[in-house]
Amino acid sequence: MNGKGELAVSRRGVIVGGTSAVALASLPATGQERVPAKAPAAIPVKFEVNGKPVELTLDTRTTLLDALREHLKLTGTKKGCDHGQCGACTVIVNGQRINSCLSLAVQHQGDKVKTIEGLGTPEKLHPMQAAFIKHDGYQCGYCTPGQICSAVAVLDEIRAGVPSHVQDDITARPSVNADELRERMSGNICRCGAYSNIAEAILETAGAKA
């Protein structure tokens, strides 16, 4: 971040700019005046991100994901499918993991949001981050922030006794094992296919804490 609320020009920015220029040039000339759209509804939103209070005025349509990435420039959280199918946007809200793409920012007044940026720093990694590096739990890395946020919350869910589909006895306390982790992590897709290393990283982190 450069402190002005804007990202420095990046390769991505150049690509986006280039694409929109092409789109403008190819607009058909209809000869009709465009009717200006009604101003979109915008409302103030206050919540906490990684321990810091934030205050934004947002179009009601803004998802929590877009608020984090586009307005707060916390680009660690990724947009994959934008429909809750891939898990790249997973963040932890009030202690629970959710898909930030399927939640409006205005639903989160007063909430405590934790993103990958709030889990650890390059100098002081969260144990889950360190384990992902040690076990090569990624290749391209795009799904990794979502995988790590999800994995941290999964271990909390197991500790809290949240049951899963692979339990034989639904009344029993769940245990930490590879089958459980695979089932519980099924909302996070990794197209590189680093799953077995991801499972090992989570297992090791769970063991270290147990």
């Binding site: 429909h83 809750g84 959710i98 409006l104 639904i170 909302g187 996070n188």
Partner: protein, 316 residues
Amino acid sequence: MKSFTYERARTPAEAAASVAKIPGAKFLAGGTNLLDLMKLEIETPTHLVDVQDIGLDTIEDTAEGGLRIGALVSNTALASDKRVRRDYGVLSRAIVAGASGQLRNKATTAGNLLQRTRCSYFYDTNMACNKRQPGSGCAAIQGFSRQLAVIGTSDSCIATYPGDMAIALRVLDATIGTVKPDGATRTIPMADFHRLPGDTPQIDNVLERGELITHVDLPRPIGGQHFYKKVRDRASYAFALVSVAAVIQPDGKMRAAFGGMAPKPWRVEAAEAGLHEDRAAAMETIFAGARPTEENAFKIPLAQRALASVVAQTRS
């Protein structure tokens, strides 16, 4: 996504009145299905009434010995509740068989009941779909129908009700409590809540405009062994091809409701007495009148085998 205004209601009655008053308004609870559909402009509400502050987020014992589940109890909280796991295992099992951990944390009990079909023709706005755009036709009937319904369908629509939780609620004889905009309340049995498509497949259930689900009641526990068997194309995070919610008593008598087969949870009580005597004949009665396509005819024998596998588990 179309632009919309937003408010937070403070009470159930206020929420219901607000949705009834504003044309195009909708309730917003977890939002996991609604937001998905709004991004595709399949749902285009003009105004959202967020119900997260109206309470209704606890599970209470009832005087009748059952449980009252608040409409806003999350799927995770419901599946995790000790009483539900002990006395209504089929419900916990059905919930954890559905969606992903992230979605179950945000999705609510009422929202789960109100989720819309995942028929790919409903989702593809370039395709004819009577449920999305009444009168436009049904591209699914002549299309890829492998996932779609085999019974309870019409010439207008062959979409399934996609959920898991509701299949368990149906087998448990749950009832749904609502409040209307004028403050009146009513109780709807699960059997009557979801509609068959007929000529109006755009109407999924019997709720009136502005009518808000406040709770789901479970009757006294019925004992027995509880099962939810879900057959799908991958082992996790996929919708059912076929699912069966079953409660089997020590004498072999059972209840069974099926998911993935119909536009609503499919249960035929009249045929259940026969399920432990002549299961094949009883299953024939349960699916009598089915009109499968060539692509989804496999679901009928698959449902029989899913139930057989559950019955086999009771002996072990």
